[in-house]
Amino acid sequence: MMPILAAANPMDHVEPSNLFEGFEGALADLGGTLGRIGITKQVLLFLLAGILTAALFFWRARRVRDERVPRGFGNLLETIMLYIRDQVARPFLGKEGDRFLPMLWTFFFFILISNLLGMVPLFDYLGHGGNTPTGDIKLTAALAVCSFFLYHGLGIKEQGLVHYVKNLFPHVPIFILPLIIVVELVAHLVRPCALAIRLFANMLAGHVMLATIVGFTSVWVGWLHWGVGVSLICYLGSVALTFLELLVAAIQAFVFTFLTTVFLAGAVHPEH
């Protein structure tokens, strides 16, 4: 939290910045070079989240091959995976939709681990304070574009291109069909944007709010007799807000996965 307290304003630590910006010498030059090809601290944390997710599941898969009944941490992962299968995938996709489950599980765990990496205090010295990788609109837009191509691509593979395009628009009488086409096209284009902005805004707002309230502890430097009480309240408030941020991280990962499932179900099994 110290780089956040030392920053001039609460937005400082959520802006994309080069790596190692607070240091001098060779490390800062490395950070500048990497920044020129676009590797900011958020991108590095995103890559780290991907590596962590892959490593976690490869390790678990190797353990599952040997034992049948999971214990401990494997039990937790299996509970979460079964929850997504039974409450999210099966109601919309049915039993034969189990082949889409690995992709949905990937989305959920990748976004969950990305969101949780923003809560780890170890990354505070990377730039001007650590931040969530999903607090950058470019990275959540990349995730939303992946989801977009996923459900449209799977829909085209299921039904063939001509049938898929015909089923994109509901069958209505011919004289309001142009209006319906425009409305449906706008709806289809807005969905990935909404996915990206929802995830980005939740993570960004949580971090900015946390930085603002933590920043209040240092405002009262000249007035110690007021400052101690208010700083204590700010400190307790920031602890409570950190717990809220953990909850919001899990909920936003779940909402992204749920909406991807709904769009996938609409693409693969159209109702009309």
């Binding site: 609460p10 937005m11 909404a194 900015v208 603002t212 309230i213 807000l241 809220l244 909920i251 909402v255």
Partner: protein
């Protein structure tokens, strides 16, 4: 226990109020930009109103239905958290717009100067 939305909107309004330190001299020297800051703060606050009403109605109907049928309370709790996340997402779209307005006040100053 304050909700996330009111806290977030407090944060944005504080950010709008602290904008003179982020957009350092121009906003302090030029009173026209003060209107931009007021607009951003008002926008965030009004978005908070809508989301507050929506989530309040959601909470009241979900708690009432949990009281009517306690054995369905697991399903209702899941649906409640999911739909609360959607409504909060709508509020945060407006908060993102206000943040964009506050942080991009410099181009407004340049067009006024030219």
């Amino acid at each position: 226990m304050m909700s996330l939305i009111s806290l977030v909107n407090t944060g944005t309004a504080l950010l709008a109020a602290a904008a003179p330190t982020i957009v350092p001299n121009p906003a302090a020297m030029n009173p026209t930009l003060g209107w931009g800051v007021i607009g951003a703060g008002l926008g965030a606050g009004l978005a908070c109103l809508g989301a507050g009403i929506g989530i309040g109605r959601l909470a009241s109907s979900s708690v009432e239905s949990m009281a009517r049928q306690p054995e369905a309370s697991g399903d209702i709790r899941g649906a409640m958290i999911l739909t609360a996340a959607f409504i909060e997402g709508v509020c945060l779209f407006a908060v993102v717009c206000s943040m964009l307005a506050v942080l991009n006040l410099n181009p407004v100053l340049e067009t006024i100067a030219n």
